[in-house]
Subunit: 155 residues, 3 copies
């Protein structure tokens, strides 16, 4: 039987995809005494990064927002694994880190990262209200436009 | 009655300002089992970011130092909320993250971030000695010159 | 008598160097209730940063990989201090953060950061499999090419 959070994801029309394998020698998440850290996730769809380039360049705020949302969906995939498949075990989204590949002139990082934050709150409600740091970066692995990492408390 | 840390802040001539509202869909801090994570804070005064631009550009090391100090004051505001108003509950400043908007040629990130670190030690004494990572970034939300995030243990 | 991890380091031909003093007002690690956070470490050898410049510029992937490895060796130095000298107390490498100084066109951050990740797994085995976030940055303190930070669980 699907849990409360699974039902919410279905309501939002979100199917959690097959996780993209880490592109190097690390694991997608570590759980340690109820603290879960999820590795930085890219806006990958079907194992392929779907948003390449930079904000303030060819990529619009809207596309960046969608990329941050997709990155957070990939965070959710691994968080679900950390929960043994049961996302109802999530007690708190503690922190999201957002990395926005952009030009030095770009200033709307927050509007992009909202794609991740809005989804966190839509999925988890009050438990999804998180601390957040968002910064610009000159480039990301594989030329991805956005990367999102997360820290969570689970039961 | 003011606590020990409140007295130290008064001695340093620091009045904690009204917190700046998050500029997006997240919260300024999360407390989870004694661990407090404070969202990245900008050098805002009265809700307005007071230091715009880049180190290695128009902004001097001294101004950057003052900006990091102001960012940490804003971290303190939210940490105080996390403590229910009683900063004496802080057991340890675990980690500060410093993000310095700068040119590719800039090398004095540490001197800028000291504005935050020096104040942490001035306020909390030995409990204020923290781990730290400081990095350059091409740009920050709202064109801020500095951003500081924090992780704390509270009683 | 040397511990299991000390023996593994010897087998890998690694002698942990004298730690480089923090270049500013902070400490190299904080331990709090079994959680250890190690400050961002540079590829320093004998207290001198050995790899300056940028990936995508004058520095090759191979040199960047070696720099990330050296940075993680410096993380190990402080982790060992946090363990009171006994690295066998390490229960989990929770997270490594990798900061790669690079040009906006650079895309192979993961290959560079593998220098740290590969060593973590070589030293700690399954306990060394970690979550990871790797990002590009325009510049790092002292013009270092790489910076690595770590979070660990110790007994």
């Amino acid at each position: 039987m699907a849990g409360r959070i699974d039902a919410k994801l279905a309501e939002l029309g979100i199917t959690l995809p097959t996780p993209m394998a880490p592109i190097a020698n690390y694991v997608p998440f570590v759980a340690s005494e109820g603290l879960v850290v999820v590795s930085g996730q890219l806006p990958a769809v079907d194992g392929k990064v779907s948003l390449l380039g930079k904000l303030g360049g060819a990529i619009s705020i809207e596309d960046g927002y969608a990329g941050a949302r997709q990155s957070f969906i990939n965070v959710l995939v691994h968080l679900k694994s950390a929960c043994g498949g049961d996302l109802d075990r999530v007690r708190q989204v503690i922190r999201l880190g957002g990395f926005i590949a952009c030009t030095p002139e770009f200033t709307q990082h927050a509007a992009v990262m909202n794609g991740a934050s809005d989804l966190a709150v839509a999925v988890f409600g009050d438990l999804g209200r998180h601390a957040r740091s968002t910064i610009g970066v000159p480039s990301l692995p594989t030329d991805a436009a956005v990367e999102v990492e997360g820290m969570f408390r689970i039961a």
